[in-house]
């Protein structure tokens, strides 16, 4: 099923402490950066969710990583 801004995986991805140890290094670094940016500036959450969805849409490995959550 395609990810949307309201998919439960999105909320989990943006929550620090969610286990991403099985994800690729690219996904882990990307998610960590987005988490930090949202933490520093909560107003950018919507834009960052869009960026995350685009990342998953453009990269099959990222979509697979997120699907495992």
């Amino acid at each position: 099923m395609a990810l949307t801004p309201t998919s439960p995986q999105i909320a989990r991805l943006l929550t620090e402490g969610t286990d991403l140890s099985k994800a690729s290094l690219a996904t882990r670094i990307m998610i960590a950066r987005i988490r930090t940016e949202v933490k520093l500036n909560p107003a950018c959450r919507s834009a960052k969710v869009d960026e995350l969805l685009q990342f998953a849409a453009n990269n099959a490995f990222a979509a697979a990583d997120i699907a495992k959550l």
Partner: protein, 326 residues
Amino acid sequence: MKNEFLTPSEAAARIHAGHVMAIAGSETALAQLPKGRWIGGTTVYFMTAEKGGVVDHDHLFCTTFSDVAEAHPRHLPNAQMHQLTDGYLPNGFTMILIPGFSAALEQFAQQSAGYADLYAQPLAGWIAGVHLDDVGRVAPRVFDGATGQSHTEGVALLHVALPVGKSVDLDIVNIFTPQAGDTREITFHAQGFSASRAVVDGVEVDFAQFVRQSGIDTRMPLLADYAGATINVSFHSVADDHVQFYAPVQPGVVYRLAEPVLDYSTAFARQTITPAEGLSCNCILNFVHGHLQGRPAGGYVGPITFGEVAYMLLNQTLVKLDIRTA
């Protein structure tokens, strides 16, 4: 993929034969190589299968990428560095080499996270260095095999496409873990290679004074948890009023102090499942602090470098890239 410790003439023969290579060695040795499908960076420190860690000015550590569909070496000046992902090839990966102590390194470390499509394919590489006695006297260089030119600024890139059925796995090996007995959380106000202030467990401190008074062993890096990947920032120096790092600290990221590592060779061996046939590089700080000259690093071989890249600048980390049959 094949790793070999070759003479310049042996490496030149590989290049003439059309092989695609990433090459590490002294400036003198690299300058002897012909044009071809390769990039190179300076270092005289290597981890070899036969002798463990060595210092060698005469040989070149050559990683040959076999079974490659396409490969494009190129050099990008600092002003065009943001275009590095434009060269990404389908089903491929990109090697990046950056001169140590350069403006290019600071630029990559501080800006690359915002480059479009940076994470779309594996980006691996390392920071070129020099003999430690030559730091400040001789500039590290990267070589673009397409032109045969060397550079003290910009980045050398090798964009590689693999045939159908092959894929790339990029990961890191980090022997450092957070101190079990010291759970203090350190954050910084701004991105930078240096910091004068920090917040430790919610209390604003003079960070240089904190490091000195706490007796922190600055041979061990600061550690950050990047969604399960431990990312190091190594201490460069502690001045009166600020602390210098080998990679930028980031605002909003929580850093912890690292557990001391007593035996680096054994620590790497513990994290090695099989000796790497792929490309790997390891940090000069691990080489020095771990006394790895003449000792192995868990089966891994490759150049010893002044920083590593796995999408971002890393310190005191082993980066490994493997090509697999999908």
